[in-house]
Point group: C2
Chain length 214, copies 2
């Protein structure tokens, strides 16, 4: 990337320039609106209001923008997985920590995670990202199995289905959540964990959850 | 879809093999693979192995196929909502019934519901479907609020967030579930309800009646 050239171009245009971070943010927004396949470098150039050559100062290709964006989401999730692995507590608690922190990552990096969740494997970059996503899913599935062996997860649900329902629940947040800052993100994460681990229904003393005290 | 319409289409078709139902099933599969916008009648004709004019025996346009497909999903969900409204039981139980039966509809009409969940409002037909989907979401949100007024839903979660998490959980099933017949569909619906309403975590004696004898 040629900083001197960029600075000259900026000076010439007389407008504030875009660093890689802002180019990436705009690219991801457009990819999410139109789909990656439906977006050209021309579209990005129009949206950014800069020449295509200015985008190529930052990246070699549209696919490199995709790759950077998907990594942004995946690196966040894997950093959670690493922190989970370092915790010395029962699997059920590590699983809850993983769910909670994954919701926080999703809320914090929403456009990037949205793009990841829509990736269908149409390019080598998408396929690589889907591989990493599967690795992450395995970590979740293994934790669920471990928690079930510990007797901490209800035995009437298949662990593989439980893992998928759990992460389906986390991922679906991307469909409706509008970021409202760090405290709102943590409130959301708590709500997801409360429903997933304790259930929505109020428990009454001495009765099981599904009998009603009427 | 109206049975009369189907019968007329069947009578009209000039060759064995494809009635409107099969054309629709193939169209929905292709829409889900490539996106509705990325699919032409030519693509459908190639996939079906019949001339475009044979598709036009059944429908007037690609958008009519989309409309029929989205109605297939929405009619299933609204039929559940009607059955729910007719039940004389506490809101929390009606809500659980709604979730359970929505999972069954989703599993049973998976490609149609998948198409609905991906609709982004790019056409008048999609916008109409999104309107109906919002009506359905309101029914869910109202039930959650009613259950909260009854004191049957944990008060520490915002009812609007609870409704969205709940239906996010249901909808996300479309991302991974592969239909395995009626009994597998009902098992899935039970797993979703167990997690959503009772929680994944085993309850031990003294915490609630759900406890496990360990």
């Amino acid at each position: 990337m040629a900083d001197g050239q960029r600075a000259r171009a900026r000076a010439r245009r007389g407008r504030p320039g875009y660093d890689l971070e802002s180019v990436l943010a705009v690219a991801v927004a457009v990819f999410n609106e139109r789909g990656y396949d439906g977006t050209s470098m021309e579209d990005l150039s129009l949206r950014l209001g800069i020449a295509k050559s200015s985008i190529y100062h930052h990246v070699d290709s549209k696919e490199q923008l995709l790759s950077l964006a998907l990594d942004r989401a995946l690196d966040g999730l894997f950093s959670v997985a690493q922190r989970v692995a370092a915790r010395d507590e029962p699997a059920i608690n590590r699983l809850e920590y993983l769910v909670r922190e994954s919701v926080v990552v999703l809320a914090d990096r929403l456009p990037y995670v949205t793009l990841l969740l829509r990736a269908r494997g149409n390019t080598a970059t998408e396929r690589h990202a889907l591989d990493r996503r599967r690795q992450f899913d395995h970590i979740v599935a293994d934790l669920v199995k471990e928690a079930e062996r510990d007797g901490d997860i209800r035995p009437d649900i298949d662990p593989a289905a439980a893992a998928r329902i759990l992460f389906g629940m986390v991922n679906s947040v991307s469909e409706w959540y509008r970021p409202g800052g760090r405290s709102a993100d943590h409130e959301l994460a708590s709500a997801v964990c409360a429903i997933a681990f304790e259930g929505l229904r109020v428990r009454r003393a001495g009765v099981s959850g599904d009998s009603q005290a009427l």
